[in-house]
Amino acid sequence: MSFDSAYQSRKFNSVGTRPLRPDGVDKVTGRARYGADFNMPGQLVARVLRSPHAHARIKSIDTTRAASLKGVKAVVTAADLPDLTDGDASLFAILDNCMARTKAMYDGHAVAAVAAIDEKTAKAALKLIAVDYEVLPHVVDVDEATRPEAPVLNETVFTQGVEPAPTTPSNVANRSEFGHGDIAAGFAQADVIVERSYKTEQTHQGYIEPHACVANCSPDGTADLWVCTQGHFVFRQTCSDLLGLEVSKLRVTSSEIGGGFGGKTHVWAEPVALALSRKAGRPVKLVMSRAEVFRASGPTSATSIDVKIGAGKDGTITAASATLRYSNGPYADMWAELGAMTSFACYDLENVKTVGLEVLVNRPKVAAYRAPSAPMAAFAVESAMDELAAKIGMDAVDLRIKNVAKEGSRSSYGPVYGPIGIGPTLEAAKAHPHMSAPLRKNQGRGMACGFWFNFGGQTCTDLNVNADGTVSLAVGTVDVGGSRASLSLIAAEELGIPYEDVKAVVSDTATLGYNDMTDGSRGTFSTSMATISAARNAIEVMRKRAALMWEIPPEDVYWEDGHAHAAGTRHGNRAPLSVKEIAAEAANTGGPVAGHSELVADGAGVSFATHICDIEVDPETGSSRVVRYTVIQDAGKAVHPAYVEGQYQGGAAQGIGWALNEEYIYGEDGRLQNPGFLDYRIPVCSDLPMIDTQILEIPNPNHPYGVRGVGETSIVPPLAAIANAVSKAVGVRMTHIPISPPRILAALSDDKGS
């Protein structure tokens, strides 16, 4: 039944309220079960042997002594994961990253794994595995890797997207290009030009829960995987592909997830746990240590970006260009391409050109990290915009407003925009009290805009009306930030029943149809679409049941305020039938009442935000402190405002940590020096002020309630907002993230010197 996803404005009863979330009590009493909280009878403990070298050929692996150690039940190497990827490059990259096949490509790359009766035995067994490495020269820096003399990571990689096709292998795997118009002409007309290079270091999503799973392959070919993941259906597909299992025989259950931010959209050790279980014939529990999470899961890219913007004296941008180099880790992907697409997306430009270069380095395989690739590109562009405003002598916000993208503007990544909310966020920022509050000595104020795509994807929900009229809602999107609460609100709204009568649960892959990964801010957007559709289907069933109960034609029954009503006067004034009353007769009117929905939610629209940040710098030590922070973002419709605010605040906090303190630090030996929360410094409670939020609601025309995705955009502006604030506080343009105290102090002394 086709589902009309168009927006119809309405008065909301449940949507927009702040009820208590259904999974709250379990989480505050410690009963909620995360990845490492699940155990199976007779389970073994797994430990992974990881390469201590940044780049080395694996000549041989001798596991005989390990396998013969008492208590060891299985030892696996790449040989136990035969290549079933038949030419699918991205699937082969996942396989090779799970366990190195010919070369160890980074410090921490898995080379073998054991399953034993306890942790002590497993650790002892790892020491008995003899790996014959031929250590090769390595490169970890994104710029050094592009130099001709840099060691080549993969002899089969030739730069794609370049004409004529190069013939020598390179660490630059792909060149992408976007834009329109003639930038040469544009720059020629410019009165003022800003041209600068920017760098950002590699950061990690920083979820507090390390990856954990319990895998059980039974001899009859069926298998179970209990895992913390952002997409158990996608994990099922990937694990089936890699291990040659039938999709229907592998059931993946998503545990409560202790944070993901994109880092749990990708399998790391789960296929290894399944391989160990298959070989040992027993369940295997594999929990990564924090050091393993940093060394061998999926941090985001380190980047090196050149930006050039030209504008007339009146602030109109005549030309804008950017070259974006993103580290991908050892396997080619599309991270620079995403940066190139998002960099100038906030603006309506006549002449724009962006080039993305994917660079291979001896670092872990890059995975998505909340609006992947956008924060770094925004840092470079919004820093240049700030400098341009200063050069022209124009207010930073006014310069943005002058060039802002509107409905009908051609985006820098291609398509023309529909109705978008960046203009309103800029106007709101201009009018916000934060923008005019007084600043004290050594304090600077910065602002920045941010953009992210959102999307829908495949979604499937089941809505069952129980005999007492309460509703069970089964969804397939993983709930990290309270989406069970927001989806229950959506179901209650559409059915016209109280929120308390709805209980939402996340189903495993055996009890619900396929659902895409919970990423791209699609959780609430797409599953709310499917929930509304399921609710409307359930209403159709209940209308027919009421008709049967009243013995009148179904066309004469309409639904309103949670009740079936008999239309017109012909049927006398029958009292409306509530869901409870209809459900009570279900047995006699056709059986259980339910509504299902399987759809592809599309047209998610794009999402914009503007942030304002005040920072105080100690000029003598270079230390900096965020004293005030404001997030202004368009949510289309805030289903549960508290959790929308939570996305705004959480994204800003991650951005602040990224801007000031967080970075992967590699030694000369190519080994990660800070794989732990002590020296990979994410913001702590005493580092941050309260983070003020302002939710704008510009309805998304492609969603019945106008909902937009909100989960990712909030991490995009902070790097630039903070860089602009610090640059104002110290009077020197800061171009290298993180803006650590040594860098601020060095900038101050250079400035005094020059």
Binding site: E620, T621, L660, P683, V684, C685, S686, D687, P742
Partner: protein, 286 residues
């Protein structure tokens, strides 16, 4: 590996003396247990000293304060007399790690872990503190600065345990202070640490001083030239500049994941200036 929890200091030193290869003393455990997570950590004996009477007590005698080796840092600020006598030492101990770490870690553990960046050690050295070291052949008192000999190394002999920290009563018109640099506001290992102790004469002129620097060398540095720079002064700008220059000169830091040489040398001077000013105020100097 054996875990022992002796009831007397004699049993403790005997156990340590008789242990084979590597044995470790457990007080707060906040350094030791992190090292135990390391895959190649080997130990024959973990000796828990928390059942030995007096180890978790802070007492006073006519010479000064006796702080048991098992007294957690959090308890120091709860001891009014100690906190008012030695605010610099107590604030240094209270900067070690988080609330959770504070509930366990001890100054003696911080000292014996021998990290060049230990927070309490510069403050204790500036305060002129000593430790009572118990061994199979009886006890001896050692200046704090003589315990660490390099990163992770101490001068303790086999079988010896540090029983207590001995802090003298502060001289009249004296004050101490400790400041450190960390990139966040909490939870970090010190990039630089500066402990200052000074005493004034009746006229408010600095008559004696000790400046100790942390995280700027293989072990804590007693910067005598820095102290000399402020003795005989009222911490005028010139004196503070000389103090800062001397501290920067006395610092021989390394580049590592937490800081660069240039940064540490510069900020050592800045913190010394600020800590001296705070100690001077505490000593009643105007």
């Amino acid at each position: 590996m054996r875990y022992e929890r002796p009831d007397t200091i004699q049993d403790a030193t005997a156990l340590l003396a008789s242990a084979e290869a590597n044995s470790f003393v457990l007080a707060g455990g906040t350094d030791l247990l992190v090292r135990m997570q390391n895959d190649d950590f080997e130990a024959d004996l973990i000796l828990d000293i928390k059942s030995i009477p007096g180890m978790d007590a802070v007492s006073q005698n006519d010479e000064g304060f006796v702080i048991g080796a098992a007294v957690p840092a959090a308890a120091l600020s709860e001891h009014a007399a100690l906190a008012s006598a030695w605010p610099g030492v107590v604030e240094a101990a209270n900067l070690i790690g988080s609330t959770q770490i504070q509930g366990r870690c001890t100054m003696v553990g911080n000292l014996c872990n021998a990290s060049p960046a230990a927070d309490s050690v510069p403050a204790l050295v500036a305060a002129g503190a000593r430790v009572r070291v118990a061994g199979p052949a009886g006890a001896r008192d050692v200046a704090i600065i003589d315990i660490p000999t390099g990163p992770g190394k101490t001068s303790l002999q086999k079988g010896e345990i540090v029983e207590a920290v001995l802090l003298p009563h502060p001289a009249p018109r004296s004050g101490d202070a400790y400041l450190r640099f960390i990139p966040r506001t909490e939870m970090d290992i010190a990039v630089i640490g500066v402990g200052v102790y000074l005493a004034l004469d009746e006229a408010g002129i600095v008559s004696s001083a000790r400046i100790a620097l942390g995280a700027v060398g293989p072990k804590v540095v007693l910067a005598d030239e820095a102290a000399a720079a402020i003795i005989g002064t009222r911490l005028e700008q010139k004196a503070l500049d000389a103090l800062a220059a001397a501290c920067s000169a006395a610092s021989q830091p390394i580049d590592d994941k937490r800081g660069t040489v240039a940064f540490r040398k510069k900020v050592a001077g800045v913190l010394a200036r600020r800590a001296a000013t705070a100690a001077y105020a505490r000593a009643g100097g105007k």
